[in-house]
């Protein structure tokens, strides 16, 4: 029950009890006061009765005295008896009031005195002593006594009327407060009853809403279970109470042959995963939820199925919580994962095989190249001595092609070295400006053939601790590219020095590189142009970047299509403070 409702009912009940109690007390008070009013009225009546009885006794006595007829004495006797009865009742009724008690005693004396006077006149008359009787009556004793009686009765009546007025007022006041109490109490009770009615209505509405929510949730859960997207199991105290078709299909049991209560929740687990189940059970006890974990279930035919299993306690209002377990079949995922791993291994082996091939091929090619280089060199010298121009030209071309072959073989070897993190540096103290001059000189003829004007800006020596041959390779690669893509426009090589770094830049005004290609061109086998228009293997800039980074430096390109390209290399002048070479 709603706490507010309980409080309202309690308060209402308390108020009702209080109202009954107050009303009851007031009613009793009212009854007591009414009795006192009646009592006072009775006293007044008795006083009137006394006066009337005396008058009646006097009337009877007078009749007898005048007529001598004794029948007139009958009312006299009846009145005498009545007087006695009235006086007795007045005595007893004024017992609570000492003044009135005293007055009653005095009244009795006067009445008795008056009765004695009447009796004396009757006796004298009955004895024929008329004159004595008249003389006694004429003496006025009787009238005086009677006057005293009347005065006293008036005083007593007045006193009783005053009492009656006071008691009437008190009784009226009590009646009014009773009515007021009943009115207020009734109104309060009515208000509380309205409140209780409203609370009961709210409580019912709330319950209805809560029940509707629960029904909706149950419907959703039921839909989830019936959708059979994942296996769902319900269990109570370890025993399975319900399983959906998806789960049954996972463990290979037909719906018709499945008796839920014959199975334990963890009874499907393959033996080596029991420890994980125990951890799950512990987690459920401690936190109410067991985080998903992978295990294998035993199918009805003895085969296994890999699953992801998770469980949670569901409070259904019973003594022990119901457990809902969710089981996802991972067979397909595992198969895909295995396939992916296989493909990854294959790809990795293929890359390894390629790099190994490049390494072996590089070495194997270099040996005959080494011999060829020496032979062609001698041939060219011989031909120059003989002076046959055509032969000199051909020998010169041979030399260039051999040099080109050597560079290609070097690049292939560099691929395998860099891939195997074996790029070796032989650093020495050297002048980058001088190196740039040597390389630019070497490229003089190539520049002329490409119709490019080659300008070097290297005014002062820029010394540092670097691998001379590798930096030669860096500048050669950048210059080769600049001449290749320079569109016959001037190419500028610049070497400058800062405090801790040296900068080398090669700027052309050629075809430029699109934004999307600028990052890609530094990757292995990546090119911004097609092999049909500009032949090449896509290794030069990658090797260049690797060499620069092996020196702890950076290379960047700024370019726009059609506006040329600026390659900027920055190199720390010391290799991380080391004097020895290091590989990467």
């Amino acid at each position: 029950m709603d706490a507010r409702l309980a409080v309202a009912i309690g308060v209402t009940f308390g108020a009702l009890l209080m109202l009954v109690s107050v009303t009851s007390m007031s009613a009793r008070q009212l009854i007591r006061e009414a009795r006192w009013v009646d009592h006072t009225k009775d006293v007044i009546e008795e006083l009137d009765g006394v006066q009337a009885a005396i008058t009646e006794a006097e009337t009877g006595q007078r009749g007898f005295l005048i007529t001598g007829d004794e029948s007139y004495l009958e009312p006299y006797h009846r009145a005498s008896f009545a007087m006695s009865e009235h006086l007795k009742r007045i005595d007893s009724m004024t017992g609570d009031n000492p003044i009135e008690q005293e007055r009653a005693r005095r009244l009795r004396q006067l009445v008795e005195e008056r009765t004695a006077q009447l009796e004396l006149a009757i006796r004298l008359t009955a004895a024929g002593r008329f004159e004595e009787a008249r003389a006694f009556i004429r003496s006025g004793t009787g009238r005086t006594t009677m006057e005293q009686v009347r005065t006293l009765v008036v005083a007593m009546r007045s006193q009783e009327r005053e009492l009656l007025r006071v008691r009437n007022e008190r009784s009226g006041s009590t009646a009014r407060s009773l009515i007021t109490t009943l009115g207020i109490g009734g109104a309060l009770l009515f208000a509380f009853l309205i409140l209780i009615w409203w609370l009961i209505r709210s409580d019912l509405a709330r319950r209805n809403r809560a029940e509707a929510t629960i029904r909706e949730r149950e419907t959703r859960i039921r839909r989830l279970i019936d959708a059979n997207l994942i296996g769902v199991l319900f269990s109570n105290d370890g025993s399975v109470t319900e399983a959906n078709d998806a789960f049954l299909s996972m463990i290979g049991i037909e719906r018709g042959l499945f008796k839920a209560d014959e199975h334990r929740l963890f009874g499907f687990t393959a033996p080596e995963f029991r420890e994980l189940d125990e951890n799950c059970e512990k987690e459920l006890r401690e936190t109410g939820t067991c985080r998903p974990y992978q295990k294998e279930l035993l199918r009805a035919d003895g085969s296994r199925v890999p699953v992801l299993f998770g469980a949670t306690n569901v409070d259904m209002g019973g003594a022990a919580p119901i457990r809902a377990s969710f089981v996802v079949d991972l067979s397909e995922l595992k198969r895909v994962e295995a396939e992916r791993n296989r493909l990854y291994e294959e790809a990795r082996d293929a890359v390894k095989a390629r790099d190994a091939f490049l390494s072996v091929a590089g070495h194997e090619i270099r040996t005959p190249l080494s011999a060829l280089n020496l032979i062609v060199y001698q041939l060219a010298r011989q031909v120059r001595v003989l002076g046959n121009e055509k032969a000199v030209d051909l020998a010169g071309r041979c030399e260039k092609q051999v040099a080109r072959l050597i560079r290609l073989a070097d690049e292939l070897l560099d691929v395998s070295r860099i891939s195997a993190a074996r790029l070796h540096l032989d650093p020495e103290e050297m002048d980058l400006a001088q190196l740039a001059r040597d390389v630019v000189d070497r490229f003089d003829e190539s520049a002329r053939r490409a119709d490019c004007m080659l300008e070097l800006r290297a005014l002062t020596p820029v010394t540092g601790f670097w691998d001379r041959l590798r930096l030669d390779q860096v500048l050669s690669n950048l210059l080769t590219n600049a001449l290749k893509f320079g569109a016959g426009e001037p190419v500028v090589v610049e070497v400058t020095a800062q405090q801790a770094d040296a900068s080398l830049s090669v700027v052309d005004r050629g075809i430029g590189i699109h934004d999307t290609d600028q990052r890609r061109i530094f990757e292995r086998f990546q090119r911004a142009v097609t092999a049909e228009t500009y032949p090449g293997m896509g290794l030069g800039l990658w090797i260049t970047r690797e060499i620069v980074e092996a020196h702890g430096g950076k290379i960047a390109v700024e370019s726009r299509p059609g506006a040329g390209a600026a390659f900027r290399v920055s190199l720390p002048r010391r290799l991380g403070g080391e004097s020895e070479s290091s590989g990467r």
């Binding site: 040996t367 080494s370 020496l374 060199y377 001698q378």
Partner: protein, 124 residues
């Protein structure tokens, strides 16, 4: 200048010998370390040894060890000729007088050999 070329590849060895002869030096060839030692011990006068490192029968390293043990031969300067990227390091390891990387640059080869002419000793 008498140069001994220790090289297992015939084509390279022949081209080297030819080049050196052409440049006015006397050159002979041994196809491995053992044969080179035999030639030196049989009294062949030599001012400089061009030594390949990777060879069958006796490698360049083994040859250099044997040479250093033999007081009569230890003084002959050795220039390492190898395709290995670690040529300089290898040369330092065996205490060689110089190094050249294959494929050999003929002009640099002649320049290095030229440094040994006259002095009989090479700068390190």
């Amino acid at each position: 200048m008498k140069v001994l070329v220790v090289e297992d590849d015939e084509a390279i060895a022949e081209a080297l010998v030819s080049l050196l002869e052409e440049a006015g030096h006397h050159a002979s060839h041994a196809r491995d370390g053992r044969r080179a030692l035999e030639k030196l011990r049989t009294g062949e006068r030599t001012n400089l040894i061009l030594l390949d490192m990777t060879m069958p029968v006796m490698s360049g390293w083994r040859f250099r060890e044997e040479q250093m043990r033999d007081a009569a031969l230890a003084g002959i300067p050795v220039v390492v000729c190898t395709a290995d990227v670690l040529a300089a390091e290898k040369a330092r390891e065996i205490g060689a007088a110089g190094w050249l990387r294959k494929p050999l640059d003929p002009e640099r080869l002649l320049e290095v050999i030229g440094r040994f002419c006259g002095s009989g000793r090479a700068p390190s």
